[in-house]
Amino acid sequence: MSRPFGQLPGWADYVLMPVLNLGVAFGISALVVLFIGESPWEALTTMLDGALGRGEGIGYTLFYATNFIFTGLAVSVAFHCGLFNIGGEGQAYIGGLGAALVALAFDQVLPWWLTAPIAILAAASFGAAWALIPAWLQATRGSHIVITTIMFNFIAAALMVYLLVNVLKVPGAMAPETRTFAAGGQLPKLGWLLELFGLKIGAAPFNVSFLIALVAAFGVWVLIWRTRFGYEIRATGISPSAAIYAGIPYVRLVVVTMLISGGLAGMMALNPVMGDAQRLQVEFVGGAGFVGIAVALMGRSHPLGIVFAAILFGVLYQGGAELAFWIPTISRDMIIVIQGLVILFAGALEHMFRPALVALFARAIPARAG
């Protein structure tokens, strides 16, 4: 993609602009809080205190962040290839089916550290399978992947409700959910990790999936920047026609990239299903697939940026829950508003300040280029 409005120094591009964009998003969020008659400062301190003040809060923050690392990575891998995978929500939902089936099959026979690798494979392959048809349609028939993945989100929702209500539900029970997994199907909490820092985990469901997410982030970094396949992905993302001309097999590349993306989204299910609820429930994804879009945008599609952005969104989620508890006029929906504003300003309007900044830099550093 050509830079539409001239060049900026690297630090301005990667640090200053995102910070400015985020600043506007949070500024407008503060106005919303003011508009409903509460103090933005009090809201901010309540949020930060709730999310980072105690060990339990940090545990919850990192628990939410784990979801967003997976979905953010999923969106970013597709982004690098020039594809917009908006179907993380459905892929994670189906991934949960894979993880739950493994947990239900092995939880009474195997210890967790043997169940977990099988569950990771199952969650990833179920998520990948859900991305396969949209990917194949995009690559071979030119069907817009945004539209097909949206459709697959809804198909996944209908399918999972059907399976939970009619097939997987405990006979005689009211709630559409599977039975609770035994210890062999549960991912252990990471209380010891927080204790290294002198923190108590309390009731927070912060679990081993967080470490799996960090490994996945490192894996994505290696894949995109240190392998031949990653190079092909990036080349295709920048210019598909040039990539095809250079002999990169377009269909295979698109399909495999989307399988990786769907697999990452599917692995997100490990955290809520095996790490927290220990059973498969309706709508356990809860919008994390869409938050992944915001996280990938803010993290500039780089795994390190994604981890930081995911933690920021973890703070928003946990802080937002605390906020709704202490200041009831500000309901949890405030988080959704902030998310939307972040997506708007860090994503759709990311170049809003570029012309002004370019003009500013041109004046400050006159005629450096010769």
């Binding site: 539409p4 919303v32 409903i36 008659g37 917009f84 908006i86 048809i133 349609l137 028939r141 069907s143 817009h144 945004v146 539209i147 097909t148 949206i150 459709m151 697959f152 809804f154 198909i155 209908a158 399918l159 409700v161 059907y162 009619n166 869409f290 879009i293 945008l297 006029t329 500000i330 309901s331 929906d333 405030m334 988080i335 959704i336 508003v337 902030i338 998310q339 939307g340 504003l341 997506i343 708007l344 994503g347 759709a348 309007l349 990311e350 170049h351 809003m352």
Partner: protein, 323 residues
């Protein structure tokens, strides 16, 4: 006769369920034919529904509700336009953002203003668009077939239903028989050619997203104060996405859009009707099949198995003037 009565009931329910889909799909039609993809139909419809519900509850006037819904939905459309036309941002990202902001703000403000768990208070009388009973309904009610059809399908529809169905021929006329429509379609196919002819691409696209805002505002108004009597949190419940599916299913053409919406509305009506009742020879059909069917059909269409859906050529691509 009983089967006939059931059919009329299902068709009447189809009409009611089709209206919001039709208005939203026509809204998307204008925007996407002008080259601006819009997955924010859902959010605009929801924001419109909240504005209509809240305004009608406070003022007691359905018309005030309608006006506010249109204002709010157009404002969100302009945000979408500002991001995707003026700043050449990613149209999908902008649409996702609008859906989030609308879902969050409506619930947040609803709770802050009315304290009813994100609902707005129930309204009645002049604060709603009530059914319009056509003349001679009772006189011909006894006539077989014609009577029930006239009573259930034509008479008793509210103003917005009439607007929605009249908007179909009107949209056909505007898009295919006026200069504005020709230019609007041209700007979605080849904006550079339109620009060369000395017509502003930006202004044309802004007009398209404004029309899109007006129609989604009407769709929201229908949800909140015509079909129901108040706004409920997340009441658009994916209808914006079904409308998007209908728009694609209809290959971005106004009259097929109506039939696609009627088909999807019919599937919804059948699903509601069949809930828990077994069908002869088949047994109980899971309601989820009907919920998933619009999306499955659209994917099959996109795969090229039911003709081909060719989107507007410049759709989703921001226009950069030659420099």
């Amino acid at each position: 006769m009983e089967a006939f009565d059931t059919l009329v009931l299902i068709l009447a329910s189809t009409m009611r369920l089709t209206v919001p889909l039709l208005l939203a799909a026509l809204a998307g039609l204008y925007s996407e034919r002008a080259g601006v993809f819009d997955i924010g139909l859902e959010g605009k419809m929801l924001a419109g529904a909240f504005a209509a519900g809240a305004t009608a509850a406070v003022t007691g006037s359905a018309w005030a509700g309608l006006g506010m819904a249109v204002v709010v939905a157009v404002a969100l459309s302009l945000v979408h336009g500002f991001a995707s036309i003026t700043h050449r941002g990613n149209q999908i990202v902008s649409g996702v953002a609008i859906n989030f902001v609308a879902a969050g703000l409506t619930a947040l403000l609803g709770q802050a203003w009315f304290q009813q768990g994100g609902r707005t208070p129930q309204v009645s009388g002049d604060a709603r668009f009530s059914p319009i009973v056509l003349p001679f309904t009772e006189e011909i009610a006894a006539v077989p077939i014609l009577g029930p059809v006239y009573r259930s399908l034509l008479s008793g529809q509210n103003l917005l239903t009439w607007i929605a169905f009249l908007a179909v021929p009107l949209s056909f006329y505007v898009l295919y028989r006026t200069r504005f429509g020709l230019r609007l379609r041209a700007v979605g196919e080849n904006p550079a050619a339109v620009d060369t002819a000395g017509i502003s691409v930006t202004w044309l696209r802004y007009r398209a997203v404004i029309i899109c805002g007006v129609l989604t505002g009407l769709a929201g108004t229908y949800l909140a104060i015509a079909q129901s009597a108040n706004f409920v949190k997340d009441m658009s419940a994916g209808k914006g996405y079904i409308a998007l599916a209908a728009l694609i299913f209809a290959k971005w053409k106004p009259v097929p859009v109506m039939f696609a919406c009627l088909l999807f509305g019919f599937l919804d009506a059948v699903a509601i009707r069949l809930q828990g009742t077994p069908v002869p020879f088949i047994g109980t059909v899971p309601v989820q099949i009907f919920q998933a069917l619009p999306y499955v059909l659209t994917v099959i269409l996109l795969a090229g198995f039911i003709g081909t859906a060719v989107p507007p050529k410049a759709g989703g691509v921001p226009y950069t003037k030659e420099r």
